[in-house]
Symmetry: C2
Subunit: 245 residues, 2 copies
């Protein structure tokens, strides 16, 4: 069980983190205008998180907000016996820590070496009061996540293993849409392990593996490597994901 204390691997020393931030234009920070960027920068603490490191632990006092500026992280909840449900993957531009209560309701761990920006909850709240646009932005973020969560509930509650995997692959592709690395269209990278995919889809590793093998044998996908997937028959996958197969 991964219940290690959350603590940063290292803290970057940079003068103006926000201005040059890769996530500047996406996410919540986009609500801040150029001229006010300095105030935001003053609050932001850039942190490098090594792969596998937990940086938010369920139940601990929620003292910070985070935004992911590079890499991939996973958010998850645990049952006492170790069963795990990954509730989402967060990559560049994603805002974390919207929990209302005084303690976090989930864990967050880096899938690969990632960079996150840490904000003191109390100090950011003060900043938010000065920038109503940011609060609206936060509401948008929360609303979007709510919609995604409902979609995921449909997947977990009612879709078959094949449908889940197909949905996942398609979501991965469209998720990359905006700022994807220079790759052939239809080719996606899966930074997370099969176990993570399984825990995200409510399946076992074996079922995920078998299902992907089957999708490959049906020419719906191609597997260049375990982490590099090509969507070969997008229409077929979409029909599957929508539950029409």
């Amino acid at each position: 069980m991964t219940t290690m204390r959350a603590h940063p691997l290292s803290i970057l020393h940079g003068a103006e983190p926000c201005a040059s931030c890769g996530a500047r234009s996406s996410g919540v920070c986009a609500a801040i205008e150029e001229k006010d960027l300095e105030r935001l920068s003053a609050l932001a603490v850039p942190i490098l998180v090594a792969a596998g490191r937990t940086f938010i632990t369920e139940g601990e006092p929620a003292e910070h907000f985070f935004t992911v500026t590079s890499g991939t992280t996973k958010l998850f909840k645990l049952l006492p016996d170790g069963r795990r449900q990954i509730t989402g993957f967060a990559s560049r531009g994603t805002f974390l820590g919207l929990a209302v209560s005084s303690s976090y309701a989930f864990n967050a761990e880096a899938v690969e070496h990632s960079q996150v920006c840490r904000f003191s909850r109390t100090r950011l709240r003060r900043l938010i009061e000065d920038f109503p646009a940011m609060e609206r932005r936060l509401l948008d973020v929360a609303s979007n996540e709510l919609v995604a969560a409902q979609e995921q509930m449909l997947l977990l509650g009612r879709k078959t293993a094949r449908e889940r995997v197909a949905s996942f692959l398609l979501a991965r592709e469209s998720g990359l849409a905006g700022w994807a690395p220079p790759q052939a269209k239809g080719c996606i990278l899966l930074p997370m392990a099969r176990t993570d995919i399984a825990d995200y889809l409510g399946l076992t590793v074996e079922t995920v593996s078998r299902t992907m093998t089957r999708l490959r044998s049906e020419r719906l996908i191609e597997m260049r490597s375990p982490t590099e997937i090509v969507l070969r028959n997008r229409d077929g996958l979409e029909a599957l994901a929508a539950g029409m197969a």
Copy 2:
């Protein structure tokens, strides 16, 4: 498949809906102070929704927000072949319609005769601009729902049938906590049908029924009627729901 058009059964004619509203103190409307209540009232359109009536349809233009002021409603998503996932039950005080996009991402239907308040999206937005407290309140609502959604993902992805039913019953009880009808502590009412419970827990009706029968035979619960349940062994249920059984 319940894909009937959303339309109100009838519109109540009352002078000051908000002041006398049962949900006044809970939910989003609590953000409005006494003196500004009139402005809110002017926007609120109270609507009676008959049991089984759909009042929000997925994909339709999201022109309104709603708050449930009495009764119980269910929110759900559908797959083309009719599979259904209920993402939540909304009763007194619950705010609906947080979808960001221009169209609803879910359906809402009354479980029992219910009253809801309808607000024009655009007009309410203007009101919100004048009352920052309301926006903060909306963010709180969204955050809370997000936490609940993550908990439900854990349930749907990783819990067994018994654990799901136990979790559901406990959530029902604590949900009623504040404004429960004058009932013996530990006794809960289930206004929704077994099918609804099944579609909420990602199970079939038969499994829900069997599971409840088993919980009864194990003296964890008592069933006065299909809709009236007594939690007989709360500790046992909580251990079960937490996955420790």
